[in-house]
Point group: C2
Chain length 358, copies 2
C-alpha cells in the first residue's frame, strides 16, 4: 500500500539538524540499530537505554528523514473523550479523507486527560502513521518531541487550550458564533438573556461566551454575571444549570446554551417547570448535531461544520507529511453560521406590546 | 507491545492443514518468500501471481500458524456505515476492551455495501491485527478465506443477514424486544398498533417485526399488513412512514417504530399533524440511544445493550486469537429490556371508558 519514498539528499535537511543517527548512538554509547529500535517504538530496549536515547534525540532536535521512515497506511485520530455526541461527525470527516488516500483510521481516546498517556505516544511511534489528528486534546512537550523526532506530523482540531503558536490547528469561529446567537435573541426583543458555558479550560467555550458578552455590550445591554453559568458541554449540565436559571425570580426569557447537548438539557428543565419553548423561553444551541433538527421544537443553533473541520485537519496533516515538515504552521478557522428553527421567538412582553400596538 | 509468540508444535495444527508454505510455493511455481509477501499483503507482487497464490491458499485451506504471524497491537472495527447514531456506542465498547488489552482500534466503513471492498481485506492482511469486529457487515467467501489463511479471527456483531453457522457472532434478543414493546402497548389498551420496520435484508429488523406480530397474535388481535410499513432505520423514514400511517382514516393509536431514530421521525410527523404524544399517539422505539431520554416527551423504548455487545464481540475475537482458531463457533445474544418513559399511555378511547366507568 505504501508507495516507495524518494531518497532525499542531505541538502534538503533542516539546517538545525546536525546530529545523525550514528552520532546519537555514539553519544548514548549504544549501537545505531539500538537507536533505530527506540525510534521504531520496539519493546526490546532496556528502559534506561531508552530514556537516554530519547533525551539525546530531543536535545539534538533529531528529526528522522523521510527516506528512513517507512510509514504505515494509517492516520491516528485521538479524542479527548468519546462520550461527546459530535465525535461521530469528526470521525466521519477523517474517515472520508483517509479513504480517498487509501489509509485507515486508528482511533484512540485520551480518556478525559487532556494529553494522551505516554504509552500512547510509544504506540504511535511503533505504528508510524502518516499523521496524527488530535481532537480537543493537546500534547505535552515530550510527546511533541517524540512525534517530531519520528517525523510524524500532527494537527490539533478545535484546541481545548492554547495549542502553541507553532502547532497547526483547525478550529471554528466560536466567538462569531456566540455573537450571532445572542444578536438573534436581542433582535427578537429579548433583554434578559442567560448563558451556559462549557468548561472554562476550553478556549472554544470561552470564545463563545465572549461573543455572547460582546453582543450584549454592543447593543447597550447590561451583562449580568449571575445569568452566566458554568456547564461542561454535557446534557446533565444543561439540565441543572437550566433549572437554576429558570427558577430565579427574575428568570431570563432566553438562554444561549453553549452547545446542543446543553440546550437539550435546558429543554428538559423547561418541561419540568412547565415552561413552553419558545413561548416562555427561547433557546439557542451550538454545533447543529443531527438531533437539533429532530427535537421538539426543532432547535435554533449555531452550525459548526464539524465534518468539514475534520476533513480539513486530516488533509492538513497529510500535507505536512508530504512537505517533509517544512510547511508553515497553520491556524485555520472555518465559519460558523446561525440556523434559525423553532426554539426562538419574541418574548411574551414584546408580543404583548406588539398586539397592544396593533 | 506484542509479546513473543510461543513456537508451536506440528501436532497442534489442524488435521485438515496438509499444505505448508513451501508446498504452496511449489504448486504456484514461485518462491516461498513470494508466498510470504502475498500473505503479508505486500504490494510488490504481480497481480496474476497474487491471485494464483490466493487461489492455492484457499484450495488447500492453508492456515498460517501463529508462530509465523507477528501481530500488530490493533483490532479492526468495520461498520456497514458510520451514519448511524448508535455507532458511537459500539465504538466505545470496542475501545474499552482494546484499551485494557493495550491495543488500538482501526476503524473502517464498508460504505453502504454489505461486504467491505477487496482492498480492505488486503489492508487488513497487511496490518495483521489481533482480530476483526464487523458491525452489520458480512464477509464474502473470498474475504473469509483471506482472513482465515492469515489466522486473523473475526466476529460479526448484530448481523445484517445470516452470517453462516460457523461464523462467531454477537447479537441482541431482537424478537423478544419487539414482543415486549408491542405487549406493553396492548396492555395499555391499544388495539390498532402500527409498525415501522428496518430494511428487510437485516435479520435484526425482521426479528423485531416478527416479535410485534407474535404479540398481536398471542393477544388474539388481528395483524393488519397495511399497518406494517417498510423503513430503513433512519429518521427520514420514520417521518415519511409516520405521515402515511397517521393520515389514514383508521390511523393506529400506537406505533412500534423499529428503532429510536425512526421514533424521532414519527414524533416530527405527529407534530406536523397536530397529534399529541402520548395523548393521541403512543410511540415505542428500539435501541435506547442517549437521545431517547432527552426528547420531549422522553421515549419509551427497548434497550439494546450496544456498548456491552461491542465489548463482548471484542473480547470474543481476542479469545479466538488466543485459542489459535480452535474455539467453537459462537452465537451470543444479549438480552433487550423495555424502558418505559412518557411516550406511551392508554389510548383516548380506553381513557374515556375508564372515566365513564369512574
Amino acid at each position: 500500500m505504501t508507495s516507495p519514498q524518494p531518497a532525499e539528499t542531505r541538502t534538503q535537511g533542516r539546517s538545525t539538524q546536525s546530529a545523525t543517527l550514528a552520532e546519537i548512538a555514539r553519544a548514548a554509547g549504544v549501537s545505531a540499530p539500538t537507536v533505530s529500535k527506540v525510534l521504531n517504538g520496539r519493546a526490546d530496549v532496556a528502559p534506561a537505554t531508552r530514556s537516554r536515547v530519547e533525551e539525546l534525540l530531543r536535545a539534538h532536535g533529531y528529526r528522522r528523514r523521510r527516506a528512513e521512515a517507512t510509514r504505515s497506511p494509517l492516520i491516528d485520530l485521538v479524542f479527548h473523550e468519546l462520550e461527546s455526541a459530535w465525535a461521530m461527525e469528526v470521525i466521519r470527516g477523517v474517515e472520508n479523507v483517509a479513504r480517498d488516500a487509501g489509509l485507515s483510521v486508528v482511533l484512540s481516546e485520551s480518556a478525559g486527560r487532556l494529553t494522551p498517556g505516554r504509552s500512547w505516544a510509544d504506540q504511535v511511534a511503533a505504528r508510524r502513521p502518516h499523521g496524527v489528528v488530535l481532537v480537543l486534546s493537546g500534547l505535552d512537550e515530550s510527546q511533541r518531541a517524540l512525534l517530531t523526532s519520528r517525523s510524524i506530523p500532527f494537527v490539533v482540531m478545535d484546541p481545548a487550550g492554547d495549542p502553541g503558536a507553532d502547532v497547526p490547528s483547525i478550529g471554528a469561529t466560536n466567538w462569531q458564533g456566540g455573537l450571532a446567537a445572542t444578536r438573534h435573541l436581542i433582535e427578537l426583543g429579548h433583554r434578559r438573556i442567560g448563558a451556559i458555558s462549557g468548561p472554562s479550560r476550553m478556549m472554544c467555550s470561552r470564545a463563545r461566551v465572549d461573543g455572547y458578552r460582546a453582543a450584549l455590550e454592543t447593543a447597550g445591554l447590561p451583562v449580568d454575571p449571575e445569568l452566566i453559568t458554568a456547564g461542561d458541554f454535557h446534557h446533565e449540565a444543561g439540565y441543572r444549570q437550566g433549572l437554576a436559571l429558570l427558577r430565579r425570580p427574575d428568570r431570563p426569557t432566553a438562554v444561549f446554551a453553549g452547545n446542543d447537548l446543553q440546550a437539550l438539557g435546558l429543554y428538559e428543565a423547561a418541561r419540568e417547570l412547565g415552561l413552553r419553548i419558545p413561548e416562555d423561553l427561547s433557546v439557542v444551541g451550538f454545533d447543529d448535531l443531527p438531533v437539533a433538527r429532530w427535537v421538539g421544537p426543532p432547535l435554533t443553533t449555531v452550525r459548526q461544520p464539524l465534518t468539514e473541520m475534520a476533513e480539513a485537519a486530516a488533509r492538513l496533516v497529510l500535507d505536512l507529511g508530504r512537505a517533509d515538515g517544512s510547511a508553515a504552521a497553520t491556524r485555520v478557522e472555518l465559519a460558523t453560521s446561525l440556523v434559525v428553527r423553532s426554539s426562538t421567538a419574541a418574548p411574551a412582553s414584546a408580543r404583548a406590546e406588539t398586539s397592544g400596538d396593533g
